[in-house]
Symmetry: none
Subunit: 196 residues, 4 copies
DNA sequence: CATGAATGAGGGTTCATTCAT
DNA sequence: GATGAATGAACCCTCATTCAT
């Protein structure tokens, strides 16, 4: 897809931006800091992005493509719905563990508050993810693995909300503990509550 | 408590600050905007707050005291655990509906990312709220209203997470729909899932 | 003399001002700091001084009157010129030792640079002092105690310059050593060089 | 030495700063005034100096290097000690005559009072100068040109003090008379008093 | 005599961005 | 591609001073 066609420099800049935001929020993402991080001059950045919003757009585009790719890998597997749910959660949390900065970029919607486009972008990433979970829950309900007396939409909603809450707390703690065990706990709760 | 003793002007400034943050995030909370909003000069603000961080601290203090007050009202009532849970959710969502700006201040943790103290403050507000929900769930488990095979902590976690997610989506939508029905839906889901 | 008619409050403010200047130069002498130091509100200061320049004028007036008084005590004594010289130096240095802040006020002419009147005031204090030393040197030359082949004016000039230099170094050192021994050394040098 | 490697713009800014301080003390050295003087915008200054203290540091560095250069020229010459003393004084006073502003920067220690580093810097410039004079006096004592019954240190002290006093008076007078004749007078006095 | 509240002017500094080279 | 230099706009904050009470 064209949207994921980034030059090496662009990817380098995107990753530097993610790192900066991860370190101290969008306030740290200044052209000066970014240039220093990348090791080029400030004007040089403008060869690769037309302005700061464009940069953030590309950061989100970049992250979305990787998330979707991960979601597709799971969705395309021949696991059972329950196993897929587990896989989705574990993979997501593993990805965050490996790169906590991404949490800040993706889960701090407030950051883009004054820019509808970017907020909408973040929202869309959230909804794309949702749709995969929804599918899995629906499948699980069809197979009878998951209870049927609550709509798949509502179940998905609770799962997404819990996951986000989990990650946000981890973030607010300064990433001071391991995220994965929390994911296991969550899954445990999910399965208990969803048992039909 | 003395910490909630604000002068009229201070309350006025606090509310103006909340309004500004609500409108466009912390980026909009500049001394210039704030002064304009309050209708005084910039230096005048500094008679009432020693600096911007202090202002934010007081904003959070102010909001926390109102939240705790609301929580106490419910906790102190003689409702059943189920009814209390409903009351907590409805009141919280009603409060947000009446003043959507507060959502931005309280649920956009990222806003304070570069200030540990403020982040911790927001975190603490979250945890205070949590503790009230936890108590209610525990009570409900004792009375047998809520299922017992999942710990109260985990249930609370899911409830808080779902509520937050609900509010955040509402926020990202630009407060474009009514929040309260979503709360009712949530409660409906909770009660179905928690039935013992 | 009318110029030394200060109310108690005025003296209190003057001394607070001297203390502040002593601590960190004129930059520290803000109305806010001064009010805090005195223990009154900022506007209250304006009951006693019409503005900051007026305050500084009174500070200098106050200090000049005390300096002149000290000089007169020595000049009016029936000591020999040599003894008077010694007495002048020792008393001056003793006064500075007791109140190092005054050094900053009196010997940092640069502080008043942008105000001709105050600069002139400081200059006049310097010249008043000079005149007393000059008289003593002249007397000493008449009695033959001091050499005659250099004019009293030039000798006075060297004495004043050396003393100032001595005090300024003491100041730049952060008042980290005893000033009086340096005065003794100076006197020793003077007497050796001035011996006729 | 690398520390004296200033770009053209930096030198231009340094000189503008010296001019401003000369005109009205450090109070006149604002970024706004400086920018106007240099003919650039305020932010432009920050490409050449990281902040105001850094600017002052560089101003002092710049002046020190020129002073030391001048001192070395004299010290390295094959003049006699007496002639060297004369040369040191005359050159110093000539330099000040050509650029009276420098006097304000170098002899108004009070200006930097609230910044230990800068005060120490000024102090060090003073001491470097001192050391050259001391050497000359010592040499003169060895050759018998200067009297021996007062230590070279004390003599140097008196010379430095007198010179400073001379320059400060000139400054306080608003540079209203010629400095050089005063230097000649001073030298005359020195030679008379130091004759062995 | 004193204060709380306020203010115009101005302080140093950082921002995203542009432009000539 | 990349850079050094520059800038308008804006940032938070402090100053001496005034005024109603």
């Amino acid at each position: 897809m064209a949207e994921t066609d980034f030059s090496d420099r662009q990817v380098q800049i995107i990753n530097a931006a993610i790192k900066l935001i991860g370190e101290g929020g969008i306030q740290l993402l200044t052209t000066k800091n970014l240039a220093r991080e990348v090791g080029v001059s400030e004007p040089a950045l403008y060869r690769h992005f037309s302005n700061k919003v464009d940069l953030l757009r590309q950061v989100l585009t970049y992250l979305r493509s990787r998330i979707v790719q991960r979601l597709n890998e799971v969705a395309g597997s021949d696991l059972s719905p329950s196993e897929k749910l587990r896989e989705l959660v574990i993979r997501q949390f593993t990805a965050f563990s490996n790169r906590p900065e991404v949490v800040v970029v993706l889960l701090s919607e407030g950051l883009y508050q004054n820019n509808n486009e970017l907020s909408a972008f973040v929202f869309s990433i959230m909804q794309v993810s949702s749709s995969y979970y929804l599918k899995v829950i629906k499948d699980g309900q069809k197979t009878g693995e998951f209870r049927n007396d609550v709509t798949a939409e509502r179940i998905t909603f609770m799962i997404m909300g819990s996951m986000r809450f989990c990650v946000i707390q981890w973030h607010l703690s300064g990433f001071s503990y391991k995220l994965l065990p929390k994911g296991e706990e969550l899954l445990d709760t999910f399965f208990t509550l969803l048992k039909s």
